[in-house]
């Protein structure tokens, strides 16, 4: 594992990776985010604890390969192959280090476990993030999930009719708002945890 956790990615390598996704900067950013979510899902579905860390490690490795000049025809297929390799390494590493608890070095024990998240913190972040959404997105997601049973179904159809889009397009639009909201809450909770530990 010569290049495992081989330091942060250079700006140049990252720029090259984005260009491989798309010459259009905005499109490249979206492709990058989607690929990262795919990778997190890949690791999370294999019960890897720090799925996001392994996803970033995978991205770093691919970016370094591109920076070194490797020609990659099928970028997303290549990501999948590297993700599998990173996963296998994670398993091997886990198997290699079965340390009994009484032999753990004191400095390891000194590492603080993440503080549990209080329901109030989560609610606070939820409200904050909801406020940061554009008003039309905020109303759309709240109205989409409002009500129950048949009323909810009818309300969604009304909403789609009002926006003059098919129901499935509405579903996708709300899903994207939901994603950004969830991401905002995760960032907010991380900030709160960091402040607590300071």
């Amino acid at each position: 594992m010569a290049h495992r956790h081989a330091g942060p990615l250079t700006q140049q390598a990252f720029e090259k990776l984005l260009t491989c996704f798309s010459p259009d900067r905005e499109q490249a950013g979206m492709e990058y985010e989607t690929t990262r979510r795919k990778l997190i899902r890949f690791f999370a579905s294999r019960s890897v604890e720090s799925a996001d860390v392994q996803a970033d490690e995978t991205i770093n490795r691919v970016a370094r390969r591109i920076d070194e000049g490797q020609q990659i025809d099928n970028l997303l297929g290549y990501f999948y192959g590297v993700a599998r390799m990173v996963f296998k390494e994670t398993i091997k590493e886990k198997e290699r280090t079965p340390v009994p608890i009484d032999e753990v070095a004191p400095q390891v024990l000194r590492h603080k476990a993440p503080e549990p998240i209080e329901p109030d913190q989560r609610l606070l972040c939820f409200d904050r993030c909801l406020e940061t959404l554009p008003p039309e997105s905020r109303l759309l997601i709240l109205e989409y999930y409002e009500g129950e049973g048949r009323i909810k179904i009818e309300r969604r159809q009304e909403l789609a009719d009002r926006l003059r889009i098919p129901l499935n397009a509405l579903r996708i639009r709300v899903h994207r708002i939901r994603l950004s909201l969830e991401q905002c809450i995760q960032n907010c909770l991380k900030q709160m945890q960091a402040q607590k530990q300071v």
Binding site: E31, A44, G77, I172, R173, E182
Partner: protein, 324 residues
């Protein structure tokens, strides 16, 4: 072989019950297909929402809880869904409604106006008390004058109210004009978004490019038992045939798929047998493009070390037309 709808495949993947080989194949597909990946994410939203509303079947709920116990990410998603559900069921969502304006009479009898009228009345009263000292002869004239003054005040008040109302109407008109402009802009943006999403939907309607698997049985000409069959599906792009070998021990084999009148529908393939606990077998992959429903059989010949071929066995199977 059991056939699954794409939705079922996604659900089984999310619940963690897709066999390893199928899971890897499915993952490879969504890695290269953003529309399919979005379907996976949408299906997970749905699964999480149904879980918190207690709408999953007993089995699905058990599987979901298993997946939940090993996934902090999924736990976070469930917590989020609970908050969202509480937010949207505990309080009505605020709707953008126009603020009702008070009517003319409400404004006329509003507390501020009433005080103003009282003050005016008091002034008139003072005026009357002052004029009483002038003399009885002037009393009637003064009284008339007071009445006229009061009327004048009232008229002034009405004028002021009308002017205010006009100003408010003009302000409202300006606000409405601005809103109309904003709405037009929003409509144009929504239309652009609608077109983009429509394109995505059309893209997501592509076939899933799955591999169908079928295990064959030896003895095509013996006519014993039922033959293996597969119902074709637009999502299948190729067919992987598992061909068990009975009492045969060649280092290599040659296999080709034929119609009942012995016309080949695949290129002859040279295959190396694979060993498993159940015995040796061959794996023949056949692209399904252009293959029609009907009966087929695989002709298998053994190739010895000198390259000489000898017929080994034939394996029949049937491809059914996709359901309408």
């Amino acid at each position: 072989m059991s056939q699954q709808s794409p939705t079922e495949v996604v659900k089984r993947y999310l619940l963690g019950v897709l066999p390893e080989e199928e899971r890897e194949h499915f993952e490879q597909q969504y890695f290269s297909d953003n529309a399919l990946f979005e379907e996976v994410e949408l299906a997970e939203d749905d699964l999480v929402d149904r879980f918190i509303r207690g709408e999953l079947t007993k089995d699905d709920r058990r599987l979901f809880e298993q997946a939940l116990s090993g996934s902090p990410r999924l736990n976070e998603r469930v917590e989020f869904a609970r908050l969202l559900s509480n937010k949207t069921t505990s309080q009505p969502v605020p709707k953008v409604e126009p603020v009702p304006q008070p009517g003319f009479w409400q404004r006329l009898f509003s507390p501020e106006k009433y005080a103003f009228r009282l003050a005016s009345g008091f002034a008139v009263l003072l005026f009357l008390v002052g004029s009483a000292t002038v003399g009885i002869t002037w009393m009637n004239l003064k009284q008339q004058s007071a009445v006229l003054s009061a009327r004048d005040v009232e008229l002034k008040q009405q004028n002021e109210a009308a002017a205010k109302e006009l100003a408010q109407l003009a302000e409202k008109q300006a606000v409405n004009d601005r809103r109309a402009g904003d709405l037009e802009k929003q409509a144009a943006e929504l239309e652009a978004q609608r077109q983009a999403i429509q394109q995505q939907i059309e893209a997501s309607d592509r076939p899933l490019n799955l591999i169908a698997r079928l295990t064959l049985e030896p003895g095509a000409t013996r006519g014993e038992g039922e033959q293996p069959e597969l119902t074709l599906n637009r999502n299948y792009s190729s067919l992987s045939l598992n061909i068990p070998l009975i009492d045969s021990d060649y280092p290599r084999y040659r296999a080709v798929v034929l119609t009942p009148d012995r016309k080949p529908v695949s290129k002859p393939r040279s295959l190396t047998p694979k060993s498993a606990a159940s015995g040796k077998s061959l794996n023949l992959s056949v692209p399904l493009t252009g293959i029609k429903p009907g009966d087929y059989f695989v002709q298998v010949e053994g190739i010895d070390a000198s390259g000489k071929t000898t017929p080994v066995d034939e394996y029949r199977f049937r491809l059914n037309a996709p359901p309408r």
